[in-house]
C-alpha cells in the first residue's frame, strides 16, 4: 500500500480499495435481489418465514452497498467528487420527471403494463452519461 508524506494512503490506492468494496457490495445486493425475486417460487415455495429472511438480507446488503457507495465518493479527489455530486443532482431531476411521465402512461392508455423497476435503467444511464459529460467538459485538454 503506497502512503504519502502525511502517512495516509494515496488517492489511487484509496479509490482502488473503495472500488473493490463497492463492487463487492453491489454484487452482494444483486445476488440477494435475485434470491428475493426468484427464490419464493423456485426454491422455497413461498414459505413466509424464508421470504422474510430474504427480504431482510436484501435490505441489509442494500445498506452495505449504500455505505460502500458513500465511502467510494469520499475517497475521490475534490473534482471527481464534485462531478459525481452534480451528476447525482441531474440524475435525481431526470428520474423524477421520467417517473411522473412513465407513471401516467398506463392510466393514459399508452402502455398496457408499466414496471417501477424500469425507472432504474433511466437512473443508471442518466448517471453514467452525466458523469462522462461533466468530466469531459472540465478535463478536456
Amino acid at each position: 500500500m503506497s502512503r504519502n508524506e502525511n502517512g495516509s494512503t494515496d488517492l489511487n490506492t484509496r479509490i482502488n480499495q473503495s472500488s473493490v468494496r463497492l463492487f463487492l457490495g453491489t454484487m452482494g445486493w444483486v445476488a440477494t435481489t435475485a434470491v428475493l425475486a426468484f427464490g419464493p417460487k423456485l426454491w422455497w415455495e413461498f414459505d413466509p418465514s424464508v421470504t422474510l429472511i430474504a427480504i431482510v438480507l436484501n435490505l441489509i446488503t442494500g445498506a452495505i452497498m449504500l455505505v460502500a457507495q458513500y465511502r467510494h465518493l469520499m475517497s475521490m479527489d475534490e473534482l471527481q467528487k464534485q462531478t459525481h455530486l452534480e451528476a447525482m443532482a441531474i440524475t435525481l431531476g431526470v428520474t423524477a420527471i421520467v417517473t411522473v411521465t412513465y407513471g401516467n402512461l398506463e392510466p393514459a392508455g399508452v402502455l398496457a403494463d408499466t414496471r417501477p423497476t424500469n425507472i432504474l435503467f433511466v437512473t443508471g444511464i442518466t448517471y453514467i452519461v452525466a458523469v462522462i459529460v461533466l468530466w469531459m467538459r472540465r478535463t478536456s485538454e
Binding site: 504519502n4 495516509s8 488517492l11 479527489d77 478535463t139
Partner: protein, 66 residues
C-alpha cells in the same frame, strides 16, 4: 479565478502528474485548475500555497470572468 499554477510548475520542471501526486489529486484536476475550468477548494488552494512556499494570493487571484 486566475492562477499561476502552470508557470510555477514549469519553473520547477514538474509535470502535471508530479504536482497531482504532491497534492493527492488526479492529474485531470491539476489540468482543470490550470485551465481555469475548475476553482480549487480553500483547503486545496492552501495546500498548493504550502507546496510552493508562497502566499496564497500570489498564486490565486479573483477574476470575475475566469
Amino acid at each position: 479565478m486566475k492562477n499561476k499554477l502552470k508557470v510555477l510548475r514549469a519553473e520547477r520542471n514538474w509535470t502535471q502528474a508530479d504536482l497531482a501526486s504532491a497534492l493527492d489529486v488526479t492529474r485531470q484536476t491539476v489540468n482543470a485548475i490550470e485551465k481555469g475550468k475548475y476553482d480549487p477548494s480553500l483547503p486545496l488552494a492552501f495546500k498548493v500555497a504550502a507546496l510552493f512556499a508562497m502566499p496564497i494570493e500570489q498564486i490565486f487571484s479573483y477574476a470575475e470572468d475566469a
